[in-house]
């Protein structure tokens, strides 16, 4: 268990090239002891590179890594006392399930009784008890992944457990249960868990801190609520939330308002220091409702379709050339094809150069 500091880390797979391509642009970050982190981003954005740097499989081109303020940048993987679970099950085929789970402890000279105790605790959590003595290679893919996971959790004193999309191969039903188990383990043992995923729901339900990455860049770090309500960039707004954030290309027309399709929308952002007038207005579809008795920030739209998605209705409408999406409760009556929607000023995010102002 440790606090992990990543300071000015960057990485390139061709550092000696005159024009190195960076898999990871310089960034700094601190992972507090005992928290749950999710690294979220599309494929190829540098998530796995980041994990491999922390576990020591990859040495960063620049920057330092500190575990509890101790520099471990040059420390080898085997000396870092860290656990990592990969996307696909990695098991030691020639060993039994018990031997697989005990291997990390055996490598570190734990006593037999301590090993037994830990392996039993882990098998209890992961429901592997009945397989303990069978050959690991005979299990199914998701059982194998449970073993991988178990090997990551079997040491109590690890600096952190890094998981690289570990639940991809696991049934949705079991996935849900395992995520809860991981949360419990984190709460019980105060193990720092870092979870890489491209699935925002997984990230949102699992972590209390989410790191959003895009093209080798850390774009935003924050709680699920922060990422949802105040996305730092249009990318985050687009990537997080379902449906994606409504984004309207537009111009600032006064110090705090934006013009969309000839309607003035008031915001709580100060727009007096813009370099250009070109901006984007972003608003979550969750915050757009059918106007009741508000008298400003109203837009007239033509409803294109209404989808009933079980616990809510999704209205897709046209606002001039823009498409606008609004999430309303199931009970909401949608009067006709022409509807007035209300855009709350305090929920509006204004982006210049795709960055939040």
């Amino acid at each position: 268990m440790a606090k992990i500091d990543l300071s000015n880390i960057s990485h390139s797979y061709n550092p000696n090239d005159p024009k190195p391509i960076y898999a990871l642009n310089p960034f700094s970050m601190t992972w507090e002891n005992g928290n749950r982190y999710a690294i979220l981003g599309p494929s190829g954005c540098g998530k796995t590179t980041m994990l491999n740097i922390v576990s020591g499989l990859v040495r960063p081109s620049a920057g330092r890594i500190l575990f509890d303020d101790k520099d471990v940048t040059d420390l080898k993987t085997e000396d870092r006392n860290i656990a990592q679970v990969f996307q696909f099950p990695v098991i030691y085929n020639t060993m039994t399930v018990y031997e697989n789970l005990a291997f990390p402890l055996k490598c570190r000279d734990f006593s037999k009784s301590k090993t037994d105790e830990r392996v039993n605790a882990v098998t209890e959590t992961l429901n592997l008890k009945s397989f303990l003595n069978s050959a690991a290679r005979k299990l199914t893919a998701d059982q194998k992944q449970l073993i991988s996971l178990g090997r990551g959790l079997v040491r109590e004193d690890v600096a952190a457990v890094l998981m690289d999309e570990p639940l991809t191969v696991i049934d949705p039903d079991l996935k849900f249960r395992l995520r809860r188990n991981l949360k419990e383990i984190n709460e019980q043992y105060k193990t720092t868990l870092v979870y890489v995923t491209h699935d925002q729901n997984e990230a949102m339900t699992f972590a209390d801190n989410i790191i959003v990455m895009s093209e080798g860049e850390v774009v935003q770090t924050g709680s699920p609520k922060e990422l949802f309500e105040r996305p730092n960039t249009t990318f985050v707004g687009y990537f997080i939330g379902s449906p994606a954030m409504n984004l309207f290309e537009s111009e600032a027309s006064s110090n705090d308002s934006v013009k969309i399709n000839n309607t003035l929308i008031k915001t709580h952002t100060n727009l007096s220091n813009l370099k250009t007038k070109k901006i984007k207005l972003g608003i979550r579809s969750e915050f757009i409702k059918i106007a009741q008795n508000q008298n400003e920030n109203l837009v007239d739209v033509n409803v294109e379709k209404v989808e009933d998605l079980g616990n809510y209705k999704l209205i897709t409408a046209k606002l001039g050339n823009f498409t606008i999406k609004s999430k309303v409760t199931r009970e909401t009556e949608i009067p006709s094809s022409k509807v007035k929607l209300h855009i709350p000023a305090d929920r509006c995010c204004v982006y210049e150069d795709n960055k939040l102002i």
């Binding site: 085997e78 696909f88 490598c107 290679r137």
Partner: protein, 282 residues
């Protein structure tokens, strides 16, 4: 159509079987014949066409002083040379294959694949090209006509096979296995010995089998690099072919020389069919 297909299928299987089995049957029957039955026209069926006897087999273990050919010593020589050279080749070959599979080497334009190809290229040229250099080399270090010299040469011949098979095998073993072992606390040597190697037993068996086969059947280098002190089995068998060829003992010794390979093939085949080789990875 369907019947024709079945007919053709079995027809070719039968033809192929005859093609493969006939030489063995021929050798087997001949080994029990005497001079009369070999030279006196075609005979096939024992006790009907000819009277079988064990003379061809008996001379194999008799010493030359008593008119025998004594293949026991060459037999053990062959076994010793083949096994030692195969073992050393497998050990060295596996180590270099692992390095070639996992680490990046670069010397000018020479990269990992080029090094792997360099190993295989040793087997591309005809062996005759190597005969004079090997002869001069062994004579310069006084190892001509000795088991050690043959072992050295066989390692040169067998190691490329081991490297070639094992590089391909290690490339199929996911790197994550090594990485997981490192994360679990092994150093790179332990990761190789405790995790990667046990996972590679199928590859080791295949490579070992090829080494043993190629080592065991080699006649050319055994013939050129030995004279009187040391004799390997293939050379001994060919040497039986004198002015009056003793077909019976020649056949018997040929069968005896194939026997170990048949046994190896049976063991490996049983191991294969048990499913121990499949599904080793993932």
């Amino acid at each position: 159509m369907n019947k024709l297909y079945i007919f053709l299928k079995y027809f070719f299987i039968v033809v192929w079987t005859v093609f493969v089995v006939a030489p063995f049957l021929w050798a087997l029957t001949t080994s029990f014949k005497d001079f009369q039955s070999v030279n006196g026209g075609v005979t096939y069926i024992p006790w009907v066409d000819f009277e079988p006897n064990l003379e061809g087999w008996k001379v194999l273990i008799k010493s030359p002083a008593k008119g025998g050919v004594d293949i026991i010593e060459p037999y053990f020589n062959s076994m010793f040379v083949t096994c030692t050279a195969s073992l050393i080749s497998i050990i060295l070959g596996t180590l270099s294959a692992y390095a070639l599979s996992r680490y990046t080497f670069k010397a000018g334009f020479v990269k990992n694949n080029d090094i792997t190809f360099f190993f295989i290229s040793q087997r591309i040229m005809p062996p005759i090209v190597l005969s004079i250099p090997f002869f001069l080399f062994l004579s310069s270090i006084n190892l001509l006509d000795s088991l050690t010299g043959l072992i050295v040469v066989y390692i040169v011949l067998l190691m490329p096979i081991a490297v070639w098979i094992m590089v391909d095998f290690f490339n199929k073993v996911p790197r994550e296995i090594d990485e997981t072992a490192l994360i679990d606390g092994c150093n790179p040597y332990q990761a190789f010995l405790k995790v990667v190697l046990p996972n590679s037993i199928p590859g080791l068996i295949v490579a070992g089998m090829f080494c043993i086969i190629f080592g065991w059947i080699d006649f050319f280098f055994a013939f050129i690099l030995t004279f009187t002190e040391v004799q390997l089995l293939p050379v001994k068998i060919v040497a039986l072919n004198s002015s009056v060829t003793p077909w019976w003992s020649l056949s018997a010794s040929a069968l005896v020389s194939v026997a170990p390979l048949i046994i190896v093939a049976f063991i490996v085949e049983r191991y294969l069919s048990k499913g121990n080789l499949s599904g080793a990875i993932k």
